[in-house]
Symmetry: C2
């Protein structure tokens, strides 16, 4: 630890390393106690942990130990811990619980966290849990479940503070102090008209800085960012980020205030959505290291099979030139270079394009310009690599024509790669597909096929033999 580095939480100082990860010694100590059935020690060890760290602990112990750990720390295993837990780990744990246990957990959570736990259950279990909830909680959760998955309606909390326009700051203060049943954790209050439509938003700091006599409508900001209840969570995340929101009102089709989304619920989504592009582009789905092995196999093997078929396309192209290869076997040695470097160039452009689409940076207004600039970059990259490989091959093989052929093929393929890297994701987006999901397969197929075609084709035309 450097001199100025301080413990994250004074209370959990000894369990965490400098990166807020649970220390391996701590995890082993817990595991040893779990295996020895020493419930007292397990509880004592786990006692100082923050709910987020307890959730991490579940992720870090082997799957077969998790039920034993769960029963040892059952009193700590509340909704806060479950909400912080990785989806795969949580689902497995929830599946091991009885419906009334799940209902007890769900009852103490905010609507959004309860929904996150219940929405993944199968329908029978979902009904059993809902039956075990008290009517108010049940109604709230059933309503949330009526909105599409991954929509604002599933994310929002219904606990919020809304006040009428004609109130003064003093009225608001008295209301907040006087009502026992109100939410205690909130960051903004909403000012609504008689039809319960939001007309303004008020940061708590503005209320605290204003005299009691001032009208709330003079303190609030009228210009507000409203979230439609059926908006996709990715769009919600982009909107929070773009307008630097802490919380935002959620409105239904008739513009009535129905809930609030807070940035801490969104941070997870921003992180997931931004990080998932790297996984999707690689063909690893939305999985993570907690995904069960069988599930992982199913996700990945599909893309490997797709990749196998696109590799067959490239293979067929090579087969067209078997005579050329038979005349000069060195061509077989060199051809993967043209395909491979082209593939890499295509992947670079594709990654940039997919990110730009995901972050709304690439729109109709700058598409043509972006394509033209990628062509420029491809020409410069192509010229550099073509020169390097062309001269190198000429010298090593003592065959300048072979150098010219591989240089020209490389130039061609890097240019095609640049175009494919922009056009494939753009086309997928235009047709409503997620460009992160399928771009790789098409771009690689293009760069492989064109690499082999350009190189072997030019070699045939040049009549190379050796």
């Amino acid at each position: 630890m450097s001199e100025t580095e301080l413990p994250a939480h004074d209370i959990a100082e000894s369990e965490l390393d400098a990166d807020d990860r649970l220390k391996p010694e701590f995890v082993s100590a817990v595991l040893d106690a779990v295996e020895a059935d020493d419930v007292e020690t397990v509880r004592a060890l786990v006692e100082p942990l923050h709910p987020a760290d307890l959730a991490d602990l579940f992720e870090l112990v082997p799957g077969e130990q998790r039920p034993a750990l769960a029963s040892a720390v059952a009193d700590r295993l509340d909704g806060d811990v479950l909400a912080e837990m990785n989806d795969w780990v949580r689902d497995a744990l929830i599946d091991a619980l009885e419906p009334h246990q799940v209902a007890n957990l769900a009852a103490e959570l905010d609507t959004d966290d309860a929904v996150a736990i219940i929405e993944d259950l199968d329908e029978t279990d979902q009904r059993a849990v809902l039956r075990a909830l008290d009517p108010d909680d049940r109604a709230a959760i059933e309503e949330a479940l009526s909105y599409p998955e991954e929509s604002a309606g599933r994310l929002m909390q219904r606990e919020l503070i809304a006040v009428p326009e004609h109130w003064s700051v003093g009225d608001v203060l008295d209301f907040l102090r006087g009502s026992e049943s109100l939410a205690t954790d909130f960051w903004e209050i909403f000012v609504v008209d008689p039809a319960h439509r939001p007309v303004g938003t008020c940061q708590l700091s503005w209320i605290l800085r204003s005299p009691r006599s001032v009208s709330i409508s003079d303190v609030m900001k009228r210009e507000q960012t409203l979230i439609p209840v059926d908006m996709d969570q990715e769009e919600v995340a982009l909107r929070f980020q773009k307008y630097a929101l802490i919380s935002a009102a959620v409105v239904d089709g008739s513009g009535r205030l129905v809930g609030v989304i807070t940035v801490d619920d969104i941070v997870h989504i921003i992180q997931e959505e931004a990080g998932e592009d790297a996984l999707l582009l690689s063909g690893a789905g939305e999985g993570d290291i907690n995904q069960p092995v069988l599930e992982r196999y199913r996700t990945r093997v599909r893309w490997l099979v797709a990749n196998l078929f696109t590799a067959l396309v490239a293979s067929t192209i090579i087969a067209l030139f078997e005579d050329t290869i038979a005349r000069m076997v060195a061509l077989a040695t060199l051809m993967p270079i043209v395909a491979g470097v082209g593939g890499n160039a295509g992947t670079q452009t594709m990654a940039v394009t997919v990110r730009a689409l995901a972050t709304n940076q690439l729109t109709q207004s700058n598409t043509v310009r972006s394509i033209l600039r990628e062509i420029q970059v491809a020409l410069m990259n192509g010229a550099t690599i073509a020169l390097l490989i062309g001269i190198g091959v000429s010298l090593v093989f003592g065959n300048p024509w072979l150098g010219v052929v591989i240089g020209a093929a490389m130039m061609t393929n890097i240019l095609i790669a640049g175009l494919a890297g922009v056009l494939v994701p753009l086309t997928l987006e235009r047709f409503g597909a997620d460009p992160a999901v399928a771009s790789s397969v098409f771009v690689t197929m293009t760069t492989d096929s064109m690499g082999f075609l350009a190189f072997l084709g030019l070699a045939t035309v040049a009549g190379l033999t050796g």
Copy 2:
């Protein structure tokens, strides 16, 4: 627009599409007016835009039009707009301004946003801007610049509310209402001891819900997450996310409260850090579509050259088997399949591993288990693909031995790919390198080389001819 979809901002309704992107017609209208030198129309068009949308507008117009747009809307081009602008676009624009203009902009910003603008200037310009600032602002910004780049000290605001432990809620309210010079936008207040060390944090909603007579130390939460001033911004982002923080106190080496970081400054970082893995893995650096062409070329060509050299390794391996290929040219047709599908399998595992490392999900406690599970997945993937390609090749080429050879080679390469996909990022991380940056090159080199070696080696051993 669906029935329940509502405009993001009532005031900017007509300029934005359903995804909060500026409509192309709007961008064209602005551009036409800029080209016609019609400043009045430009101003009228831009007037209703939110600062974040005005920043987007600058990104969407061609680079050569940006100075003209900037001078037309100079009065709107304040710090809020610059803070929302893409780094590349902003830097180019700032470079075009005089130091005193930059200083005027910086003076109206929070410390963190001012630092973001000034830190990218070259040293002469930085000094000129600092000289033009008033002494208080200059001191604050110079102190921020004294912290390492991408550290908490650069991100934090110095404007915060700190109160002594012995105050009551009433004292806090009177203090907030009475002092003109305090910050107006804050989400939590900090309770400090006489040495200005934070002892607790208090959400504003807790203050609003408590009677005046209650002591602030009974309202605050003692358990708090402190950020060391020299902590890397990526760690800060992970900590905000893990503990669902809205704001957090920043402390110096002696534990004194020196600033506050708010989640809206972190959301950008979470998004950037999570999204940048996809770019780094592809070898596109940290670039985006606003990166200038020359810069883009420099970033990418390095990785293409690295890729060229690793392709040469694979090429050298093929060259060892030229005799085998000469005896059966079909091998040259099939070998890219073994290398390509293996590469894809390696990339899948690598992407999952890199994400797990970036999100602190993979630690010493679960490394061995993760490797074992990846081996299981690799065995299942390998068996599936080996069977498919083995049977297919046997039938198409009427040569069962060729089928056995390609199947065995595929199995071997997918297994090696799975191991490389976990071990390469883990090893890079262990040596303190960013696994997202260089993993691809090593993994691809491994799967290419081993694919060719396994396939051509086995074919040689089996004595295949055709």
